[in-house]
Symmetry: C2
Subunit: 256 residues, 2 copies
């Protein structure tokens, strides 16, 4: 790993963390936007404390949901330890959103006119180790005889560019909609407003992790988006996580 200002130094620790390593179900939860933490060497990217703790830095509540799902469904969880402001692990290096110069209403001064060396350093320090680890874990699980199922867990902001969003839970998919279809069918008429490919869809580039790790090998997969005002307290987290766990396990029975 390249050690350079703006990226990881040895004291920053690893970019990727894995929970529930001994999980047996074959479910692999992935949380690319788990953390708002900047590597100390990255400074503040020229952002205010408000911006640095907002949804542009991370998906608030996503890691908590993913952890609960990984426990209740006995799945593995891979999560990124650093903020997507430095590198968004759900985007390839060729995407402008990988090291964004702006996000929603916020300009990100520390990401303006990044040098090739800085782009390289972030790619090598954050993106590649993250997906190498996801890949390694999936290969291990498949090698041990379980059928990998990839579920990425995200949250979204209730107000985007000043506009409130009505959707509460988004079930997103790319070309393989098996698991999403089954979840959407089960969610119809239920307690939450659940929508297909909303508030984002594959045309927004948000299915990158699914494209890397599920589609090439034909593993069942889905991306879940939860409106973050629903998971701001323990009661909300508990309700949403239990709801999603039921949705996933029911859908898996029908898809498998």
């Amino acid at each position: 790993m390249l050690l350079r200002s703006g990226t990881l130094t040895a004291s920053d620790g690893e970019a990727v963390a894995v929970d529930n390593q001994t999980a047996a179900s074959g479910l692999v939860f992935v949380c690319e936007h788990a953390s708002a933490v900047l590597p100390p060497s990255a400074g503040d990217l020229g952002l205010s404390p408000e911006a640095l703790s907002s949804h542009i830095a991370w998906d608030p509540g996503a890691l908590e949901i993913a952890r609960r799902l990984s426990i209740s469904l006995d799945g593995l969880l891979v999560h990124q330890r650093f903020s997507r402001l430095v590198y968004d692990c759900n985007r390839p290096p060729e995407s402008p959103a990988a090291m964004p110069e702006k996000s929603e209403i916020y300009a990100i001064p520390g990401n303006l006119n990044l040098s090739p060396a800085e782009r390289y350093a972030r790619t090598a320090a954050l993106y590649v180790p993250f997906h190498d680890r996801v890949s390694t874990e999936i290969a291990r699980i498949a090698g041990e005889g379980a059928k990998p199922v990839i579920v990425t867990v995200h949250t979204f902001t209730p107000v985007y560019f000043g506009k409130p969003r009505a959707v509460e839970i988004g079930i997103l998919h790319d070309t393989d909609s098996r698991l999403a279809d089954a979840m959407l069918e089960a969610a119809a008429g239920g307690p939450y407003r659940v929508e297909r490919n909303s508030p984002y869809g594959p045309e927004d580039g948000v299915t990158h992790t699914l494209r890397l790790h599920a589609l090439p090998q034909g593993f069942a997969n889905v991306m879940i988006e939860v409106r973050n005002d629903l998971v701001r307290d323990e009661a909300g987290l508990k309700a949403i996580s239990a709801y999603l766990a039921d949705l996933i396990s029911g859908a898996l029975e029908r898809v498998a």
Copy 2:
């Protein structure tokens, strides 16, 4: 490293090789296009044997020049073991030239419409390990008290898109032209036709390695391009390598 069809498998071996590890001069030669070898797992990319051994696959003679320079000037040499047809390590992942769909007059069927997973796999298997190694070696050399000097070594085809090229040796640079200036001054009136930023220049994206490893830290650097018909036999290799060694060492005395 991701193991996947079209990229490296464990039996392919490492992507990067280092010669003259105990070199003491601080010179670091880099040869991104040293090899025409495809990883066995990559097949033939749909190319003819003629195309697979042509300049689109590698820089013929570049590794031999770089090896002679590294010995005569006591420098380290880092070279890529696989063809740039799979990943061109002198380009960032966001460049269309990194995994080119065509090169000069050749379409490259095996590189058409690469999936995100395949792009990721090649980046992770070939690009990142190569530049991580260059970076690690430079940091080690600097840590041991020598002053790193980065020299990338390339060759070019005498006929490009049907047009003969008159230039024999190109001395290329990006924003830091110290070493190139000194070499060009010494080459004036000499035995070879030597030109600045020819047949390519930084506007063609060819100074990526210099941008990664020399410019951010202010290390003296240059990119050398030799017309490959001049190094097709032992006599040519010997003459060009001796000429370049003199040019580099003379220039370093004036720049250092």
